[in-house]
């Protein structure tokens, strides 16, 4: 019985030594890897911002992290920058929204109205009163914006009524909307309701391209296109 007790104590001590060594090693590893993780988080975060803001926030956020004591605290703060940049990038795009309505015809206007109505991003960003006013705006667009110029004046009037935050949400939506129109044009596919919905609700452009232009179809389209310089109707 005594022998079992001695063996137990021996193994317990052995396990204690082993656990101490491993945890010390893990702590050192963690400490060594933390700066890389921080750098990675900051880099990912600033990539979501427009080009003009990236340099500033890379330096500012790195200096913020440096002021935080403790490795875990630093990591948490750096991870938070991902959320910050995603919030900040709303409406902070270098691209300007296409509000001309040049490419707009009645079917695409209907899609616009439908997408605006269903777009969680815009709707969740707006307060109750603004949401109601956007809903009125949708009705107004549906009734009045039958031409490009009527569409443009409707959008411009709405923009002037909205406050800064809501305006940036709507601008962001318009950038995305004009992108989908361009993409549909580039790929030669009709801008279907599902392509609009998926892009407007967070699917990125690369995925959308892959989904709506399968390689075989794109290759076939390339083969059908006449080589440069050759007139299209030549025998």
């Amino acid at each position: 019985m005594e022998l079992i007790g001695v063996i137990g104590v021996f193994f317990f001590a052995l396990f204690g030594i082993f656990a101490t060594a491993v945890s010390r090693q893990l702590a050192e590893e963690f400490k060594a890897w933390t700066p890389r993780f921080i750098k990675y988080f900051i880099l990912r975060a600033v990539r979501q911002l427009p080009e003009s803001q990236r340099k500033r926030f890379t330096e500012e956020w790195q200096s913020h992290v440096d002021e935080i004591p403790g490795e875990v605290g630093k990591l948490v703060v750096a991870f938070g920058f991902l959320r910050a940049s995603s919030e900040m990038s709303r409406g902070l795009t270098d691209a300007t929204p296409d509000m001309s309505g040049q490419n707009l015809n009645r079917p695409s206007l209907e899609r616009f109205i439908c997408a605006l109505n269903n777009n969680e991003f815009v709707m969740s960003a707006l307060g109750n009163s603004t949401r109601t006013s956007i809903e009125h705006f949708i009705v107004e667009l549906n009734n009045n914006a039958s031409t490009a110029s009527a569409f443009r004046s409707c959008i411009e009037r709405k923009m002037s009524e909205l406050n800064d935050n809501d305006r940036t949400s709507l601008e962001h939506f318009l950038v995305k909307f004009s992108f989908v129109l361009e993409l549909a044009d580039e790929l030669g596919i009709p801008p279907t309701a599902s392509s609009f919905d998926s892009y407007l609700n967070g699917v990125d452009a690369k995925t959308l391209r892959a989904r709506y232009a399968p390689p075989a179809r794109a290759a076939a389209a390339g083969a059908m296109r006449p080589p440069k310089g050759e007139p299209q109707g030549s025998p």
Partner: protein, 102 residues
């Protein structure tokens, strides 16, 4: 039309920290420490307030190579910001000692 930021409780905390600081300006980390706001919440607020002209920011003047670390960015409240905050505080203060009904 004068741009107005959304005045959430977190935004008021940030403005409060900047108004009450003795040194007149604070770095983002310092504001985060005082307001206990996470970095993901703090920076969009600072950025929005700066965008509407309630705050202004500047880089630390020292050379980062001399400092041996990245420069800090200091935020301070502008005159316009201070005036707007006073108005907000006045609106939020209950009418104690004032004639509430006339």
């Amino acid at each position: 039309m004068d741009k107005q930021p959304r005045l959430s409780s977190q935004t008021l905390k940030v403005l409060g920290a900047l108004i009450s600081c003795a040194s007149d300006e604070l770095s983002g980390a310092e504001i985060g420490k005082r307001t206990k706001l996470a970095s993901g919440t703090l920076y969009p607020i600072l950025f929005r307030l700066e965008g509407v002209g309630w705050l202004q920011s500047r880089w630390e003047v020292e050379d980062p190579t001399v400092l041996g670390r990245p420069r800090r960015r200091f935020y301070r409240i502008t005159r316009k910001g201070a005036k707007n905050v006073q108005e907000v505080v006045r609106d939020l203060t209950p009418a104690v000692g004032r004639v509430a009904w006339s």
